[in-house]
Symmetry: C2
Subunit: 430 residues, 2 copies
């Protein structure tokens, strides 16, 4: 069935940054068939019996948000182990529990996060964790879009290589894969090369944690005489499909290297602040022409999967850090969360509302207190005022997956119940 | 009528930081009559016909949040004029419109903000603006608690002095006043002294913007050879009732001076980041024994009145800035937003749930995705995961003012409508 969004304020996120008042968007076969303010078109289409009409009453229709770096199954560890420095947090709190996670736990945490993401306007996520084949099944069942990367370290390389090969071969229209070396401090140069070769031969990108902390940078330089970026470059893993999560500690040379390779960097402001990693050089990266996307990182270092919160945070800290209130303006943050994520996936048919693009759409309630007076600066309102709870409807590939608190393919009470039970079992290992 | 909150997770915010599971809180005559886990008491009280029972089902009952620095009527300028540096923002965007604000506009903006605050768990606010006598009438009608300060500059001193005197004499149980010199760059030492004398003779505190920007600090030192804090001290305005908003640029000596005077400082992280003012030295202030409260500042530099968002932001930026993830832990942020605000008002009967305290209470839904698994660290969940929209109920002085989307004394559709009309009229002056 076709869907017609009628009378929306359409944030197209197209190259001209067009925002249409009283716009209509027709969705057919998972794709955007028409975007118009021509009053004749919707009247014709709205009358067709096979068209479901969504009356938007001037609310904002925007492209689905893309969460470009996450570990969604870590929602089981949400609100656990806070206010700890990174090494304590990992070694004393997270890793001991992670070692007891079952495949079922991972599926359960993934389902919980997908509910949260859909309710908050996220249509696509790029994940790195274990058991991604199982997560893929949930993605298919729930109807989201994802790019999954089975995380690999030196210790897991041999075990996981065949799995990864197999996964990549099962790509579907909504579920793609990347090869995911965990980081330069958990993967030797040999492991990196092996994984880089695998990615190249499969024509997929790599997804890696890079330059997240000062310690990572210092140790890499001490061991290899190279920055993490330079090491990755030397081993042949930097190209137009590479997804570099964090990128907090990048010097000018690193940024130049990344720009020349055409790789994408994922900004994770909440996690970088909560774990006290540091401030990413957003302006320097964008000025150098690097594509930047936005990520929540895992729900255990955030503690949500809410890109509205993180667009605001990500902008605010850039302004505060630089002393320049014009830094990281609202439009730039929206680009990170939509087009930036799409470019990181090599897709021009995501992250914008345009005829021919995939119908990944979010409808945001602008008729509430937070959006009163009705903003003439829609972009600023979305970044600085909108909350995830303002999302009225989330659609992926033309299918409505969330609307007014109800999920199409998720029983959220059951999901919460299962997650609670999984967590209680894990608590025994604390 | 009495109210019994039954089976709550009670975040008392008392000195022992007690959190009670399956707690019951009895409210009588605007005040907390009992806090207990004793099962006999609620059974007795719940049976009384004059008791309204609120079944909490384990949701979190906490003290109402205190917004210690705001200009609530600026909600009319919400989402207008973003990504601008402070001087451009003030001189080109805000002041030209403010000069056209009528008393009705100010009332209208105040009403809009009170709706937002109540829906987000804020029970008390401390305001600085024009027409505070009119705002007081709204506070009384809506049922909130407030400490109001008519903003004064050199230019408005003579006109406003009698007004302020009159206002202070009309204090009521829920509406108190402070004397509010705008800042050291808009008030001469003579004006400061006059206002300080007025505050002293009326036994009320002063509420002032202090050390907000580097420019203010530099200009004050250039003009007077003193920091803004030292100038304020010299003019006799620093004492245990003083409320110093921002305090971004304070050196060790300033902090020492403030600590010795027993004054309170208000942390406004969202505004300080959005306007690129800088990072307040929260740990240094608290280590020196200074009472710190939390504020949203005006909705035009935030762009919300959401202390849940700002507790998270305020903590995250302290961690990121210091490189220490243990900085500004969740408990400290909750203290700022409750006890810190209460202490700034000289009140021990606000900001905590204890027998004898005023019944300013907030019930937060912990049975949703953001709070799954149910957190054993309730404080961290409230600061890092909870959203304003999770507030189920807000009570002030024993009266329920907001519950499940409905306001007791506000017609929110009418309020939004009026605000929209006021804004449209103001747009002619842009």
């Amino acid at each position: 069935m076709d869907t017609l969004f009628r009378d929306a304020t359409v944030l197209t996120m197209n190259d001209a940054h067009e925002i249409m008042e009283h716009g209509d968007v027709l969705v057919r076969d998972g794709c955007i068939a028409a975007v118009t303010t021509d009053e004749a078109m919707p009247a014709v289409d709205a009358a067709r019996p096979d068209v479901a009409v969504v009356d938007c009453h001037g609310d904002v229709l925007m492209p689905g948000l893309i969460n470009a770096h996450a570990h969604i199954s870590m929602s089981l560890f949400r609100n656990y182990a806070n206010d700890q420095n990174l090494q304590t947090w990992l070694e004393e709190s997270i890793w001991p529990l992670e070692s007891h996670l079952t495949r079922e736990d991972i599926v359960c945490g993934a389902r919980l996060s997908m509910a949260e993401m859909l309710a908050g306007g996220i249509t696509t996520f790029m994940d790195m964790y274990d058991e991604e084949a199982a997560i893929a099944e949930v993605v298919e069942a729930v109807g989201m879009r994802a790019v999954l990367g089975e995380g690999v370290t030196d210790r897991s390389l041999q075990r996981k290589l065949p799995l990864i090969q197999e996964m990549i071969e099962t790509s579907t229209p909504r579920v793609h894969y990347m090869v995911a070396p965990h980081a330069v401090y958990t993967c030797s140069p040999e492991t990196l090369r092996t994984l880089g070769d695998l990615a190249a031969s499969a024509h997929v990108g790599i997804h890696i944690h890079l330059a997240e902390t000062q310690q990572e940078d210092a140790e890499c330089r001490a061991h290899y005489g190279l920055s993490p970026t330079a090491l990755l470059h030397r081993e042949g893993l930097l190209n137009g499909q590479s997804l570099l999560a964090h990128g907090v500690f990048l010097d000018d040379e690193d940024i130049e290297t990344i720009a020349r390779a055409g790789a994408s960097v994922v900004y994770n402001p909440a996690s970088n602040m909560k774990l006290a990693s540091g401030f990413m050089r957003l302006s320097a990266l964008r000025d150098a022409g690097v594509n930047v996307a936005l990520g929540t990182d895992g729900p255990s270092s955030n503690n949500t999967q809410d890109l509205f919160k993180d667009m605001r945070l990500g902008s605010f800290i850039q302004k505060g850090r630089s002393g320049d209130a014009t830094a990281a303006p609202a439009r730039a943050m929206l680009e990170l969360a939509t087009r930036g994520g799409a470019r990181a996936m090599g897709r021009d048919d995501l992250g914008q509302i345009a005829p021919g693009a995939r119908a990944d759409l979010v409808l945001v309630d602008f008729h509430n207190i937070r959006h009163t007076p009705f903003p003439d600066d829609v972009e600023a309102a979305l970044v600085y005022a909108t909350a995830a709870d303002d999302v009225r409807l989330t659609m992926v590939e033309g299918e409505i997956l969330y609307r007014d608190g109800a999920f199409s393919h998720l029983d959220v009470d059951a999901v919460r119940h299962e997650a609670q039970a999984a967590w209680q079992r894990l608590c025994a290992f604390r």
